[in-house]
């Protein structure tokens, strides 16, 4: 089982680092660390897991409902209900006070667990778990591949739903209904519609689609806890020349970015390849953080995993990592435009997981 394989890998890394136990936090937003070690996808409240070097995992949850769900959906865990998960874990760690202990992700750790005066000290184990999250096992890549197929299918539903007069949230409802029907429990999705007034994507609004609108979306469905992402733009009606010209820049940037992906290059190299295309067309201002966030990012058990594809991120890409390359940003002539594909880094380059054609789609006005 993949969950057992992940736990064995974690324990191996802990032993190698000389750690006796790892404390891992999760909530419904940042649930990847907790899911990696426990196989539990938390939806309510806070969760903390204590994994010891013998492979045992104690999962502390503060919701009765979540405890019941964890008992049904996971195997091999010692699951405990605790109204104050930090105190409960603290009690657990008191018994290991003279051992080397670590916690991840450090920035989410309850302050109480890390402040001075405890009988135990928690080292920062974030980098250790990050490394495991970055380098995927074959089984993890297989799940992301399935999620990418679902993302492609979901974009087909989105295109069909994009009809003049419909409200943004109605499109999202169609896509979410499709994903639920396919057994996909989670999808991160933002969108935009309009023209030069649209600076980015956000949760859907009541705005109605109108002829000439650029309609952008990124879909990020999950399969067995693993996310894959696709970004595409469509036009309601026929694309005008400015929209076609602008799309050409995004297409070139994404293809150059994907071509740059291979073991040994950095995230910065990929970002620079994408951004250089924009700079060459006189659009350098639009690859700054005033107009865009990242030029891609990691994928896995979190929607927006490390590494962020930015020109100042020096993470070296290695085979087995999965990222989305997306030169999404604002274009001064046409508005916000997106285009992105999920890829897995292979020994020689990049294997593109999403298969939707790289087109500026047109739907009937």
């Amino acid at each position: 089982m993949l969950a057992e394989e992940r736990r064995r890998r974690l324990v191996g890394a802990m032993v190698e680092a000389g750690l006796e136990a790892m404390v891992v936090y999760g909530n419904a937003w940042q649930g990847d660390y907790l899911r990696y070690v426990s196989d539990f996808g938390i939806l309510e409240g806070h969760g903390l897991a204590v994994v010891t070097a013998d492979g045992a995992c104690r999962l502390f949850l503060d919701s009765v409902v979540e405890v019941e769900r964890a008992e049904g959906e996971t195997a091999g865990l010692d699951i405990r209900l605790a109204r104050d998960v930090a105190s409960a874990v603290g009690g657990d760690l008191d018994r290991m006070a003279n051992h080397r202990l670590a916690a991840a992700p450090r920035r989410f750790m309850p302050h109480w667990l890390t402040e001075a005066g405890r009988s135990f000290a928690l080292e920062d184990g974030t980098a250790l778990v990050d490394k495991l999250l970055l380098h995927k096992l074959p089984g993890e890549i297989a799940d992301i591949r399935r999620a990418a197929q679902l993302a492609d299918d979901g974009y087909g539903v989105f295109r069909a739903a994009a009809v003049t007069g419909r409200r943004q949230y109605e499109l999202v409802a169609d896509v979410e209904a499709f994903f639920r029907a396919k057994g996909c429990p989670d999808n991160f999705m933002i969108m935009g519609s309009g023209g030069v007034d649209v600076r980015g994507m956000a949760p859907p609004s009541p705005r109605r689609l109108a002829p000439g609108d650029l309609v952008t979306t990124e879909l990020t469905p999950a399969v067995d806890g693993y996310y894959a992402q696709i970004c595409r733009t469509l036009v309601v009606g026929r694309a005008n020349d400015a929209q076609k010209r602008a799309f050409g820049v995004y297409l070139e940037a994404m293809e150059v970015g994907i071509a740059a992906v291979r073991p040994g290059v950095t995230a910065a190299d990929v970002a620079r390849a994408e951004n250089d295309v924009f700079r060459r067309y006189g659009l350098g201002d639009y690859v700054t953080n005033k107009y865009t966030r990242v030029r891609g990012h990691g994928l896995g058990m979190f929607v927006d995993s490390k590494p962020h594809i930015l020109e100042d991120v020096d993470v070296v890409l290695e085979a087995g990592m999965v990222i989305v390359v997306h030169p999404n940003t604002y274009h001064p002539e046409v508005g916000y435009m997106v285009l992105g594909d999920a890829v897995v880094v292979t020994a020689t380059g990049a294997d593109v997981l999403t298969r939707t054609p790289r087109e500026l789609f047109e739907v009937p006005a």
Partner: protein, 145 residues
Amino acid sequence: MRRGLIAWSRAELPEAVFDRRVERARAAMAAANLDALVLYTNNTRPAGVSWFTGFVPYWSEGLLVLLRAGGPQLVVALSKRVQDWLERTSHAAGVTCAPRVGSEAATAALSSSNCARAPIRPRLLWRRRRRLSRTARCRKYRRGI
């Protein structure tokens, strides 16, 4: 993840409702001799900040800084490209997009006010509390009122 419509209907929830809530909080702050109230939000625990501003993070996290005077200041770890959406769906005097909400809230809002006592809600503010208290010139932080 939060999905689906996130919008603010001013007909259902007029600005005056948020303003009254802020005034009630200010009265409680004055009674407790507090200079500022700092509220944490993320998309799993949005209620505190939503109650004062209507803001519901679809992603990431933020802090709301409420001082004795002036409107509520919202500091959110979202990119600037969604500033327009933030301002459209939230009632705050100021919205700042910054990746490190703790230090931004401290430098932008708390330090300038020379506040002396600022409780933080909810009690579990995780590691952000340290960054906030290191950066701000607040002499004393307390857990929430």
